[in-house]
Symmetry: D2
Subunit: 109 residues, 4 copies
């Protein structure tokens, strides 16, 4: 594994965790109707973060394309979570998403 990947992998795994927790928490919220888009994006973002970690850990020939997709979805998920930042889990998720997007873009450039 390329050592330059270390920090980016860490950010992806942090974001995966935040998104999976937020997905679970949103499904338990009273105002779940408002969280529908958040629920979708959380799950999708968690899946792509884990895909990006896998791509870096296994030196995938597609690592750049996958990390760019990861940055795209992290930004969308972060924007959505930011709207619900009165929920602690959404606030944390937004932060992890924006950080992960930043690391993914830096890694690719």
């Amino acid at each position: 594994m390329n050592m330059n990947y270390e920090e980016c992998i860490k950010a992806c795994l942090e974001c995966m965790k935040a998104c999976n927790s937020c997905f679970d928490a949103c499904l338990n919220e009273e105002d779940i109707k408002m969280m529908a888009r958040c629920i979708r994006l959380d799950r999708e973002c968690a899946d792509i973060c884990s895909l990006a970690a896998k791509a870096m850990q296994s030196n995938s020939p597609l690592v750049k394309e996958i990390c760019l997709l990861c940055a795209d979805i992290c930004e969308k998920c972060g924007e959505e979570c930011k709207k619900h930042s009165h929920h602690e889990h959404c606030l944390q998720c937004a932060e992890s998403c924006f950080k992960c997007a930043e690391f993914c873009r830096k890694m690719v450039s």
Copy 2:
């Protein structure tokens, strides 16, 4: 599910099948050393094709970005498989990959 997705989903599932079969067959080839890159790309391509089918079937907010990634990897996998077209499984896989890439690009445009 958007009905325009039907053909593209079908191409993704065909490609997923061809890539998974090619992955298995390559691992059983005598000249496995030459197939190392094919083995990598087959597995990665199968995973992304299934991700793209999921994105279309569930109306993901990221459907375009995911289908573009799918087209990228299908083209890389198809190019690699084409080099080994004396293996029937690689020939079939290359065809499925190029077809899937075409449908994904058409769907996005």
Copy 3:
């Protein structure tokens, strides 16, 4: 690919499609609060069905264990969807889940 797998793979891919569609439809329902467990199980079931199809298509050494897990989750998802069978998408999903569970158990035995 083992030809005995054909029907089981087909059932898994049908179920994956039904679950992804049901996930999307549930997130758009007015009574989304009642659908929270359905949303969870739909997504999880779709993911495992695609994993099971991959395992069969690539002759995974873990094919039996994965298909048993697939049967377990299909039954749980089917039971939950059956409770909401006034929604057409849940009714269809329940049917696909039970059929897939049956094929997976038959394949393993």
Copy 4:
């Protein structure tokens, strides 16, 4: 997220990393022919470890069944890697696999 999951999630993510690295390293080995089963199991094990982490992080209703599958595949992958322990990556992977299997079984019991 259930706090009892913490250690098990950590073991899954360690194992995912070891398996992805081993997959990559095996594909670059001279004696790749001998590593074919290792390559298969590495990839499959990495995927299931990430699935298990996701299940715990999102309080999946299927968390026990998924962690049991994870233990099964970790044991198979660990046994295979142990045979190739003259390769440092296989030795490390075997250790991570057995540790992850142990945590998954403990978590479920």
